[in-house]
């Protein structure tokens, strides 16, 4: 048992290190928790860095060479990410496009379409977003109501999407819409890709409880999309959507957050029952619990990487990450604020202890427990796909969509 690279992995790591050393920006990685609100300068830096990576083949390591990838393995992709994370490079703008949208295109679009769209996405020239969630379709995403109606060789889209990351700077999007409301839910969907600059698309940022804006609402009013941009057959959009959703599980995670070590730091600085909080047995027990969870996730990842390293598919244990880490983010932050007593309510980085990291984390954690699969949906997935328990009874299964009970 060891964490060492195989000789091949080690060679690849050295290549990557050399390349990063010669090509990555030299600035130190910034500590703290930056706002991820988009700034033009960051986007432009990100595009430059993406183009450089694409040129070297590192932008999509596991993609086949014909699409501009490296034709490499998953473990090589992990090794690249590990090394790149040591540098202060702008990331995040292309993850959804390259992680979810383009793989869906590769699986379902024509050869000509892929020749047109894959390369500009890979080089960061064109950015993609995913238009699935709606106000009435969250966990039950097949319940979308945005509709598309055929008009000659085009489709006319009307409705609303929500929680669309990056819609305001994206060039293209993939969308799942209802083309037949008279058949049961999953059977009346179709899937398209579209130009986000099409007339009739209106994008409004959502302001989150944290005050930041990382997502948008997207309104569609008589938006015209050519039938040639349909992916999959009419009425088989759900099948295409599953390709995207399978990739989502790989793309969505939880950012590095304040953990047991930050809590230990805080506990040394604050007083509880007339002594430093770190001397309090209850505080120590909580630190131990979160240490065990963090280490458990860290070594679960090592187990998955071991499978990848052997060329195997990771086991189901890889599915527990977010359902553990997101609630931990929230609970730990809440506990850390409690240790600050009444001053725990301060959310001013200049005034509150440790620059408000716990307060900010507590706010954002509420969102991470929902994004990319709620705690509840993730438990269903573990129960159904890992343990083989039956699906819940679905009252909407054989009912035409337009006859379903309406939630409002």
């Amino acid at each position: 048992m060891d964490f060492n690279d195989t000789p091949e992995e080690n060679n690849f790591r050295s290549e990557v290190r050399d390349w990063l050393k010669n090509n990555a920006p030299k600035e130190k990685k910034a500590g703290g928790y930056d706002s991820i609100d988009v700034q033009e300068s960051a986007l432009s830096r990100a595009r430059d860095w993406q183009a450089k990576k694409a040129e070297a083949g590192y932008a999509a390591i596991t993609w086949p060479k014909e699409y501009g990838g490296l034709g490499g393995s998953s473990i090589q992709s992990v090794i690249y990410s590990q090394e790149e994370s040591k540098y202060n490079v702008p990331t995040g703008f292309f993850d959804i496009g390259l992680g979810m949208c383009i793989p869906t295109m590769m699986a379902w679009a024509t050869k000509e379409q892929n020749e047109r769209y894959v390369e500009p996405a890979l080089y960061g020239k064109e950015i993609w977003c995913q238009l699935f969630s709606e106000p009435s379709a969250g966990s039950d995403v097949a319940g979308v109501r945005t509709k598309a109606e055929k008009d000659g060789d085009d489709w006319i889209i009307n409705g609303q999407k929500v929680w669309t990351s990056g819609a305001h700077f994206c060039d293209f999007g993939i969308i799942v819409v209802r083309t037949d409301p008279t058949v049961p839910k999953h059977k009346g969907l179709s899937f398209f890709f579209l130009d986000m600059k099409s007339p009739g698309i209106e994008i409004k940022p959502i302001r989150q409880i944290s005050g930041g804006s990382n997502f948008n609402e997207v309104f569609f009013t008589d938006v015209r999309v050519p039938d040639t941009q349909r992916l999959g057959e009419v009425g088989e959009g759900w099948k295409v959507a599953l390709t995207t959703l399978m990739n989502e599980r790989l793309a969505i995670g939880v950012p590095k957050s304040a953990d047991y070590s930050s809590l230990t730091q805080l506990a040394k600085d604050v007083i509880l029952n007339n002594k430093p909080a770190i001397k309090n047995d209850h505080v120590r027990a909580k630190i131990a619990d979160w240490y065990v969870q963090s280490e458990g996730l860290k070594y679960t990842k090592m187990r998955s990487l071991t499978s990848l390293s052997k060329g195997e598919t990771p086991g189901p244990e890889s599915s527990i990450g977010k359902v553990v880490s997101a609630p931990k983010m929230q609970d730990l932050a809440s506990f850390a604020m409690d240790l600050q007593g009444a001053a725990g309510i301060l959310n001013d980085p200049d005034m509150s202890l440790m620059h408000s990291i716990f307060q900010n984390q507590w706010m954002s954690a509420a969102g991470y427990r929902i994004a990319g699969g709620t705690d509840e949906i993730l438990r269903n997935i573990v129960a159904e796909r890992v343990l083989g328990l039956p699906q819940d009874i679905r009252v909407d299964k054989n009912v035409p969509f337009n006859e379903l009970a309406d939630s409002r």
């Binding site: 060492n4 992995e9 120590r284 027990a285 969870q293 438990r379 129960a383």
Partner: protein
């Protein structure tokens, strides 16, 4: 990246699993619960015949000379079967103690007999409900004689020898001594415990002949070292038991119908079982790291051992109790097999001292590491 057991180790695991499924069904465990027997001699003999009691004993002493990683995979299967045998006390605790702190003569005397199964050993640390510490150990070793009381001593009713943690009068420090439990001046009383499939006894030593063992100079530290080794190994037993509990709950949730459907289709049950799975995987990952540190004698062993212990105890306690809950009323009956894991989870969870204490130990080690 090679954070996994080897193919040979996985093969050994399958071999042990096969032996136990053939010879140690839950009915065998039930037989021990319902009879006066202290353990299953047949299962124990089988394990001895496979050479498993000598897994980590060097070949020069008649053992297999394998690594602690082999013990980890064996432990997981013993836990899965809830096997009524003295493996943890004799192998993880006493044998490891003699390997580490036995004199040459003691090793020559005892290790071959432990490997061959001629004797069963145990390890005696606690003396009462008070958490043992260097200041409250009352058992004293003086002029080759041991006096005092140990309880609960696992497998104490029938073990042949005992490694006891003692106050050594000569040096006025903590040490360990070996006692032949058939010598004069020893009184044994079998205790009534939560899990009668694993024997525990009170042993009173009254000027019993005993041999002091070697010490690193920090006798209490030596004891902690043995507890750390056992913590990692027992965590694998806990993982095996937790997986067996989850599996039992899952099977029941698929078979049982209520309100016209399988109870496993209700989210309340699904989420409960998903939580068992999550806790088990977190425990497994911590224990893998514990195993790696044990095998490498790595600098993180103390932290990893405590983390393994905390995570695996949480996983097994939760899985065993929620397995009963999933079964509903039938799970609370004497006829149901849910009780074996429920009982065993507490015996394993408490065997090396309170979890509150291990959590404190974990944080203390973290503080030392980061200072």
């Amino acid at each position: 990246m090679n954070f996994d057991f080897s193919e040979d180790q996985k093969l050994l695991k399958e071999q042990v699993a096969k032996f136990l499924s053939d010879n140690c069904s839950i009915d065998v465990v039930r037989e021990i619960l319902e009879s006066d027997k202290n353990y299953s001699d047949k299962v124990w003999r089988g394990l001895v015949d496979l050479g498993l009691t000598g897994t980590t004993i060097p070949e020069e002493y008649g053992g297999l000379g394998l690594s602690p990683l082999e013990l980890c995979v064996i432990a997981e299967e013993l836990g899965r079967a809830s096997a009524p045998v003295p493996f943890s006390s004799s192998v993880y605790l006493a044998t490891e103690a003699i390997k580490l702190f036995g004199t040459d003569k003691q090793k020559e005397n005892y290790l071959p007999k432990l490997a061959s199964g001629e004797i069963i050993a145990t390890f005696a640390l606690p003396e009462s409900a008070m958490e043992p510490n260097p200041d409250n150990i009352q058992c004293t070793f003086s002029s080759g004689k041991l006096t005092g009381t140990k309880m609960p001593v696992p497998d104490g009713s029938y073990a042949d020898i005992c490694v006891a943690v003692v106050k050594d009068k000569t040096s006025d420090s903590i040490g360990m001594s070996i006692v032949d439990l058939s010598t004069e001046g020893i009184e044994k009383k079998t205790l009534t415990t939560l899990d009668q499939t694993r024997d525990h006894a009170e042993i009173i030593f009254n000027n019993a002949l005993s041999e002091i063992m070697n010490s690193s100079g920090d006798g209490w530290g030596d004891v902690q070292q043995i507890l750390d080794i056992a913590a990692v190994l027992i965590s694998f037993e806990q993982i095996g038991g937790a997986e067996a509990s989850l599996n039992m709950a899952k099977e029941y949730a698929l078979d049982r119908f209520a309100f016209g459907r399988q109870i496993g289709s209700y989210q309340a049950i699904k989420h409960k079982l998903a939580d068992m799975y999550i806790k088990i995987e977190l425990a497994k990952s911590n224990s893998y790291y514990g195993a790696m540190m044990l095998n490498d004698n790595g600098s993180d062993l103390k932290i990893a051992a405590a983390a393994s212990r905390v995570a695996a105890t949480d996983a097994f306690n939760f899985a065993a109790q929620e397995n009963i809950q999933t079964h509903g009323g039938i799970g609370f009956t004497w006829e149901a097999d849910t009780q074996f894991y429920y009982r065993r989870s507490q015996v394993l969870g408490l065997s090396l001292g309170s979890i509150a204490s291990w959590k404190n130990k974990l944080v203390t080690q973290l503080e030392e590491k980061n200072n």
